[in-house]
Subunit: 139 residues, 4 copies
């Protein structure tokens, strides 16, 4: 089974650093979302693709571990990898590294649930997602 | 004609200060929006009221002048005042002061335009807004 | 041993809701920080208290589980509780509820590590934190 | 006199769109700061360059006019141009366009003031800034 992953670069913004010139911990949530959207564009799983299939994919669980602080002028690489899961779950793992030396700064995971427009969660995977998995060789 | 205004208190957040322990200039846009929403609740001009009348009121013009920097632990007062304007415009002025000594930190103005759900701007004021002005004695 | 906790109210901001009129998941990180700062003010463990003792307390681990989506106009209560931990760790648990009906929206945990100004992590608790625990009857 | 300008591309983030799938107006302040930092890197006027010369350059005045709303999936170009000004002022103009068709979405201006670490504003231009202007042929 092939690995589905994408890597983006993020430049730390002045507005994201705190009074210690370190990146505010909440900013990484944005970097992770940037990576998730880039993954969606690469593999055809964008927000709008999900929406047009009649679903949303809200984040249900999010775990971040901050290993080293990024600082102003750092360029970071954010690698997002798709993780197998049963049913209507969309799981990703993240690794954020400092580009200059490859140091690992953060590891994280998210779980999203496919819900209908009415907000109902279907524990089985939606058809469009099963097809997506087949098409991408991960089923 | 009575003045329509509302004043709220805002406590500076750690995540809003920059590497100089000063509030990042973009944070004031949020404080102003907090004040605008409080004004809406006080005078019956909430986002959802406008929406249910078939309109939106996107910000069209925004001007901020930063007189003194707020810092961590500051509590600020944000005063918003409704300003008369012709047609389908919604105009506010803002004064942000440090609560401890009343020092003026920022003055600002916004202009919003009433647009329909289709994105069309009607240069005359919508009926619901004319009624709102009458009801509040500012016409 | 007494429980050390604080509860704050947060009003959902227009800028925090997404295209589904649900609160963007990253906004809860801010609500949690607001609660952490209120806890610090209540129990004498503010950012500046820690800083003056020669330490920082960066977030090392953060876990959030999103149970129900908050929407525009919701008022939320954020309860933060101090959790016992060995050594130089500062642990909190969070419960976010909808104020109107008490529904639980989010549970979360954070772990912060006391580090020196040089960025070194001391696995034993700093003296000032040991004293703080004694003073608050949690040791 | 040559024009000093820089143009960057910004992709609209899911977290930046509001309930109408339009970019929240406060997000443009971030896009403008991204452009300012890119300008600084291109012409040697970064935040850290200014800081090492003993100065800060806080935003003193900011004006934005929102002409068309950007929406999800839009890619925007942000052009920042340096503007001549007397004394210790740093002035920029901004044009934000939709990349796909070149439509103008926003025009804006900022004025920054050079202040010392003590927060004093010197109405004459700092030496390092005069040298910068000479070096870049705009004096």
């Amino acid at each position: 089974m092939s690995e589905l992953s994408e890597t983006i670069e993020v430049r730390v913004r002045f507005s994201e650093i705190d009074s210690l010139r370190m990146v505010w911990h909440g900013a990484y949530v944005l970097y992770m979302e940037d990576a998730r959207e880039a993954f969606g564009r690469k593999y055809g799983l964008e927000y709008m693709t999900i929406f047009r299939a009649g679903y949303f994919a809200p984040v249900y669980d999010m775990h971040l571990r901050f290993l080293r602080p990024a600082t102003i002028d750092d360029i970071l690489t954010v690698k997002i990898s798709w993780k197998p899961a049963v049913g209507g779950k969309l799981c990703f793992a993240y690794e954020i590294r400092r580009k200059s030396d490859g140091e690992l700064m953060l590891i994280a995971d998210t779980i999203q649930l496919f819900t209908t427009a009415e907000g109902d969660f279907d524990p089985s995977a939606p058809d469009f997602y099963e097809e997506w998995k087949k098409k991408n060789g991960v089923i």
